[in-house]
Amino acid sequence: MPLIAKLLVQRIALGLLLLFLVSGLIFAGTMILPGDVAQSILGQSATPEALANLRAELGLNEPAMQRYFNWLGGILTGDLGTALTSGTDIAESIGKRLSNTLFLAFWAAIIAVPLAIFLGLLAVRFKDRWPDKMISAVTLASISIPEFLIGYVLMYLIAVKLRWFPSVAMINDGMSLGDKLSAIALPVAVLTLVVLAHMMRMTRAAILNVMQSAYIETAELKGLNGFQVIFRHAFPNAIAPIVNVVMLNLAYLVVGVVVIEVVFVYPGMGQYLVDHVSKRDVPVVQACGLIFAAVYIGLNMVADIVAILSNPRLRHPK
């Protein structure tokens, strides 16, 4: 399918261009922030000499443009550089954090995505009856409450009162998979509650849209039951918008969970990024920013491609 290959190449090229622009934006953003990295590292206890020494050592006296292009050159050769603040290799420390973040996102997605779609189908099947109303009410309530509050409530009930799962979701290499899953049970539950409503509502809306079509009526007339109609005939045709919103939520699970990470003390990318932003550690912030942007762009690309594959009409733009 050369047409699809061409589309793919186009998408990827566009994605890379976007990434390049994003890196420039992030760099400019960190330049505008008040204060400099040396002052932030040494904090209130900075003497002028110590500041000047640290600045010189970190290469902060070079012009901004030069620092930016040095870094960009490093990226292209696979070198993310070293953190200004701690002097550690960025690729190495990000690698560990990113795998933690993906671990959490993966398990949250494994639960949330099928659950949301199932609830969406259920809501369509019982449209305007009590299951539909209850599902909508519960999921909309959980998306409306700030996630840190859901976190605190679950922490109080499940960790402090019932003691089923730990309140500190700290995982490390020495733990078995079972221990890790027990550790992340609470953040996974909160993330599931947070992303559920969006995906569920979209599934419901998209399928209801398709349900208006004539062929659904035909399917009903030939005697299929309600669930079969929805699952075999309506769902495949509603898949593009559903995948779109699922991908958006998956991206959120990777890049938007800093509050959950702080509340549950989970060693993921979010906390790592925030710490380095407040210390003006530009290389780390840019590396994190690029990874986040890549995740977003990548997942959206997947959504696009799925949409194209599932709907032949899109393969032949006018």
Partner: protein, 527 residues
């Protein structure tokens, strides 16, 4: 019956009977639960520390950008980690004195200008190398010199020369300083092999524990150092978990995931203390929350404006509402009873009439701008609002401007003429005054320039007669109180908490939070 009870308590304390069983039997003997509990805890203390087990601690303030290099330590987490693997020459005792760590003993020349520290013999670093005087000299040297990034540079600046002689390290000073041992207790000045010059973040030292795992801003695990020279350290394993979120830290303690936490928020500390199995410990210390005015910038260059503001603040209200009672009122000097040579003097009170009198006398008219931010101290914006109200009662028009947390220490503090801030305090008056009130100090954040004060500071430093020194420091506090740019409404207590799983807490230990950072070493897991 009394004997029987004590027998039971001893059994429970030494682990021959469970706590629940003891409480039950004590109740059977007619004792109330509270009385039984306190009897048990005294017996637990008397039975002496139990060795072994794991103590887990939830700490606030760590960041993924931290370093293991003691020179760059700036927060409680870094301090706590250093306390595990490393030791300075000397350390503060519980009551504010000095005891030897790497140094076995020390002595001064008659004029307090030359100090000799004798290195403890036969002790080794955790890499097996024995500690020499040269290691000590190199360690100190790494923190001095103009190209260092060390947080202890300010302390080291008064040192002219460091040399070794056999197993002794000789420190020569520019000017006499009777307080040098206190300076050497600074937590940055850890003795490292070769001075740590090759690998400053190797975390190799002479401490009671050996660092096994270090994930910056996340988690640290240390195990008992089998070759440690002293008897510090009860638990076999100490684990630090960085939990920056207040609610999460308290929940971790309540759910039993950690045994000890620091910085219990004052607002909820009383509630936390009421939870079963949790003990809250409040320790008074030298830390204080401040409003600082630049004495050389209008309108604060007029002492009457400064006095008007000092009379316009309600100190007790601040202690009650901002600290929720976990603290004590300040008196516009950075010195309180936690300092060794403290003299009490008359407490300054909120007095709108006097404030109005001074304002009129100054001739100042119009609003006064106070800058504040959330991170300048916990509750700073609320404190600023209280100040604004009490000032309004005295006819002073105080305008509060909220600044972002981000960049507060680089853009507002020590730059703008009037803002909120905090000080952690120092172990001695000399150090506190030298750090922030000497006219030439880098962190002279009130731009206080008083020749008489400077001279007295230098004279007191060289004075070995304690009576005379005490008087000099009292006089200097008076000068600061009546002329300085510092408004110090309150001294904040350290509020820490422990669970019932561990015991051995000592009240009012001098120094930093968590019993000067040694609580994890000195407490023990109950049998």
């Amino acid at each position: 019956m009394k004997d029987q009870l004590h027998y039971l308590a001893r059994q429970a304390a030494t682990g021959m009977m469970s706590r629940r069983e003891f409480m039950g039997r004590a109740a059977a003997l007619g004792l109330t639960a509270a009385a039984a509990n306190s009897l048990l805890s005294t017996k637990v203390m008397a039975a002496g520390p139990q060795k072994g087990g794991t103590i887990r601690v939830g700490l606030q303030g760590g960041s993924t950008t931290d370093s293991l290099d003691p020179a760059l330590a700036t927060n409680q987490v870094a301090l706590s980690v250093i306390r595990l693997w490393g030791e300075p020459l000397v350390e503060l005792t519980d009551d504010g004195g000095i005891e030897g760590k790497v140094a076995e003993s020390y002595s001064a020349s008659a004029d307090a200008r030359v100090w000799t520290f004798k290195v403890r013999q036969g002790i080794t670093f955790s890499n097996g190398k024995s500690v020499t005087a040269e290691d000590v000299a190199q360690s100190l040297d790494r923190h001095s010199g103009e190209d260092t990034k060390s947080g202890a540079l300010g302390i080291m600046r008064g040192i002219k020369n460091i040399s070794t002689e056999g197993d002794s390290v000789i420190i020569e000073l520019d000017t006499p300083n009777a307080d040098l041992p206190y300076l050497m207790a600074d937590y940055h000045l850890i003795v490292q092999p070769g001075g740590g010059k090759d690998d400053p973040s190797a975390a190799i030292g002479t401490g009671p524990y050996v660092l096994k795992e270090a994930d910056m801003g996340v988690r640290f695990v240390a195990e008992k150092n089998p070759n440690y020279w002293g008897d510090l350290g009860n638990a076999d394993t100490i684990e630090y978990v960085v939990i920056n979120d207040n609610t999460a830290r308290v929940a971790a303690l309540q759910s039993g995931q950690v045994d000890m936490i620091d910085r219990v928020p004052p607002r909820t500390a009383k509630l936390v203390g009421r939870a079963p199995g949790i003990n809250v410990h409040s320790t008074s210390g030298p830390g204080h929350y401040v409003f600082i005015m630049h004495c050389n910038t209008a309108p604060f260059d007029n002492n009457d404006v400064r006095m008007a503001l000092k009379y316009g603040i309600n100190r007790q209200e601040m202690v009650d509402k901002i600290l929720n009672g976990f603290g004590s009122v300040g008196n516009d000097t950075p010195i309180n009873a936690s300092y060794p040579l403290y003299t009490e003097f008359e407490q300054r009170e909120y007095d709108p009439d006097k404030a109005m009198f001074h304002l009129k006398k100054s001739g100042h008219d119009g609003e006064i701008l106070l800058r504040t931010s959330d991170n300048s101290f916990p509750g700073a914006p609320d404190a600023a609002a209280l100040f604004q109200q009490s000032c309004a009662g005295a006819g002073i028009n105080l305008n509060v401007k909220r600044e972002p947390n981000d960049g507060y220490w680089s853009e507002v503090w020590n730059k703008q003429p009037f803002c909120t801030s905090y000080w952690g305090g120092r172990p001695t008056q000399d150090q506190m005054f030298t750090t922030a009130y000497l006219s030439t100090a880098d962190w002279n954040d009130t731009r206080f320039n008083n020749e008489q004060f400077d001279q007295m500071l230098l004279a007191a430093r060289a004075e070995l007669d304690t009576g005379k020194r005490t008087q000099m420091y009292a006089d200097m506090s008076t000068i600061l109180r009546d002329e300085g740019g510092l408004i110090c409404p309150m001294f904040n207590d350290f509020v820490d908490a422990t669970s019932d799983r561990i015991t051995g807490w000592l009240e009012n230990v001098n120094g930093f939070a968590l019993m000067n950072g040694y609580a994890p070493h000195r407490l023990w897991v109950k049998a």
